[in-house]
Symmetry: C2
Subunit: 290 residues, 2 copies
C-alpha cells in the first residue's frame, strides 16, 4: 500500500508529486503520458512565476524533464472510482487495476463539457463513463456514445464490436472511427430519458427534437463528474469543497487544482498541489502516532 | 491612484504582480532590488514545478528576467503603514512616501525573528520599527537598536547621529557599523521594560540579567509584525487570517504567501499570489459597477 494516490497529471498533480517525493513519501501518480491536454494546448503563458517560455508545449516539456530527473513515473490508467475504506482508500481503473493507498489527492481537473440532462440521474442505470467496465452489458443491444475527445476512439470501436448498433455523437473534430454498425450523428445530445433505466436519447435536428431508442449511453470524457468518482464527497457549485489545507469532507482525501474551483490557473493549481502534499504528510504522521 | 499596491517582492508578490499585469490592472510593487532574501538564499529547490535550476540565485535571476520582460519595476521603499480609508487605502513608507490605491495585497513574508517581550506593548511608546520616521524624537537621548540585518546599518548610523548614546544589538554577522557614540553588545535582548513609555532594556550576560536605561528601542527587521503594519487586521497564531480567496477581514485587503501561514513554500506562495490578484480584479469590477 502506498502513502498516497494522486489522480491527475496536470500541474496540480505534478506539484503534489514533487513535494511528496521531496518529503520521502511513496505514491502513485495516475494520468496520461502527455500530462494534460490543458497544459499542452496553452497558447501563451505569461503569469507563471519562473517560466519564461512561450507556450504550453514548452512548459509541458519542462515538467516532463523534471519528472524524469526526480524519477517520477506516471501510471497511465484512467481512474474509475475511489472508495473510502477504514483508514485507507481503494482506487479502481478502467484498465481493471485496483490499488490501495493511505491517502488520495484528487487533481483531475474540471469536468469536460456540460453534463447532459439525465446523465447524473441514470448513472449506473444505463449511463456509463467506462467502455471497458460496462461494455459487455450491451451485447446485441443498441447504445449511444457521446465522445468528447479523439483519444477515446479505440473505446468507441471496442463498444461497437459488442453492441448491435452504436450511435456515435462525436464532440470533437477529425473523427476517424469507422465500423459497419456505427452511425455518426454530429449533434450534441440534450437529454437522456428513461424510467428505471435508460430507454432513449434526445438530440436536436432542424429545430426539432429527435429521439433514439437505446439501451445505454456511454459518455467518454477526460475528467469525470466529481461525484461520480468518489461517493459521499461534498461539492459546491460543481467543485469539490475544500478548506485552506485542501482537505475535503472525507478524512485522508484532498483535492487540488481546477477541480476545487476558479481561478483555473497554473499558479493556483501548483500552490494547492503543494499544500495538499504537506497536508498528506501531516496526516500520515498522525496515522503513525495514533 | 493605482488599482493595487503589492507589499513584498518575494514569490507571492511577484506572482500577484504578473497576474495583475496580465489582467491589465495598474499597481505598485514595493520591495527590494534583490527580490527577497528568502529566494536568494535558498540552497536547493526541487519541488517547484517548471524550475529545473539548482538554487535560489538561479530562481531569482529567472524572476528578474520575467519582471523585466513584463516591464514591472519594483519600488524600493519600505512600507511603514497601511491605512484603510473609505473604499481606498493609503500606504506610507519609511522613505516618507505616501501612496494611494483601491486595493492592497500583503505579501511581506513572515516576521523575521521572535518578538522581544514588550515589543508589541510599547510599540509607539518608545518602540519603533522605523529609523527615519521616529529618529528625530531621540535627539540627545539614549536608545537601543536591535538590528536583525546588515542591510539596516545605514539606519543605525543615522540614529547614532541623532541620539546621545546608541546601544547596538546586532543579530547578524560581520557588523561594520562604527561610531563614537555607538556601543555594540552582542547579545539578544529579552525584554523591553517601562511604565507608560519605555525606560529600559533587559539582556542576559553571564547567566544574569543586565538592564540598560534607554528612552527608546528601535527594532530594525525586514518583515514587520503584521498587526504593526495594518491596524484592525485579523490574525491567527501570528499569521494574517484569510479565506480561500485570500480575503482578509478588511474589504479590499488581501494577503498571500508566508504571511498567511504554512507551508512556507514557493509553490504555495505563488498560488496565493495568483488567487489574490484574481480576487482584486473581481473586487475592482464590483467597485466600478456599484
Amino acid at each position: 500500500m502506498v502513502d498516497c494516490i494522486i489522480i491527475g497529471s496536470g500541474v496540480a498533480g505534478i506539484s503534489a508529486a514533487l513535494t511528496l517525493k521531496a518529503n520521502g513519501k511513496s505514491f502513485l501518480l495516475f494520468g496520461v503520458k502527455e500530462l494534460s491536454q490543458k497544459i499542452v494546448r496553452a497558447e501563451k503563458i505569461r503569469n507563471y512565476p519562473g517560466f519564461l517560455g512561450e507556450n504550453g508545449e514548452a512548459f509541458a516539456s519542462m515538467l516532463q524533464d523534471q519528472l524524469k530527473k526526480e524519477e517520477i513515473e506516471i501510471v497511465c490508467e484512467r481512474v474509475s472510482g475511489v472508495y473510502a475504506l477504514k483508514e485507507k482508500f481503494a482506487v479502481s481503473t478502467n484498465e481493471g487495476g485496483m490499488y490501495e493507498s493511505k491517502t488520495v489527492i484528487l487533481a483531475s481537473g474540471v469536468e469536460q463539457g456540460k453534463q447532459i440532462d439525465g446523465e447524473k440521474e441514470f448513472l449506473g442505470k444505463g449511463v456509463s463513463y467506462c467502455a471497458t467496465c460496462d461494455g459487455f452489458l450491451y451485447k446485441n443491444k443498441k447504445i449511444a456514445v457521446v465522445c468528447l475527445s479523439k483519444t477515446f476512439e479505440h473505446e468507441v470501436e471496442y463498444l461497437s464490436s459488442i453492441a448491435d448498433k452504436t450511435y456515435l455523437f462525436p464532440i470533437y473534430k477529425n473523427v476517424e472511427v469507422t465500423g459497419e454498425r456505427i452511425e455518426k450523428i454530429v449533434k450534441m445530445p440534450t437529454k437522456i430519458v428513461g424510467e428505471k433505466r435508460v430507454t432513449g436519447l434526445i438530440y436536436p435536428e432542424k429545430g426539432e427534437e429527435r429521439r433514439l431508442d437505446v439501451d445505454g449511453v456511454f459518455v467518454l470524457k477526460e475528467s469525470l463528474p466529481v461525484d461520480a468518482l468518489v461517493s459521499g464527497l461534498e461539492t459546491e457549485n460543481g467543485h469539490v469543497k475544500i478548506n485552506r489545507q485542501c482537505e475535503t469532507n472525507l478524512a485522508g482525501l484532498y483535492a487540488t487544482g481546477d477541480i476545487t474551483g476558479r481561478p483555473y490557473q497554473y499558479a493556483k493549481a501548483v500552490g494547492e498541489g503543494n499544500v495538499a502534499a504537506h497536508s498528506v504528510t501531516e496526516y500520515l504522521q498522525k496515522l503513525k502516532t495514533e
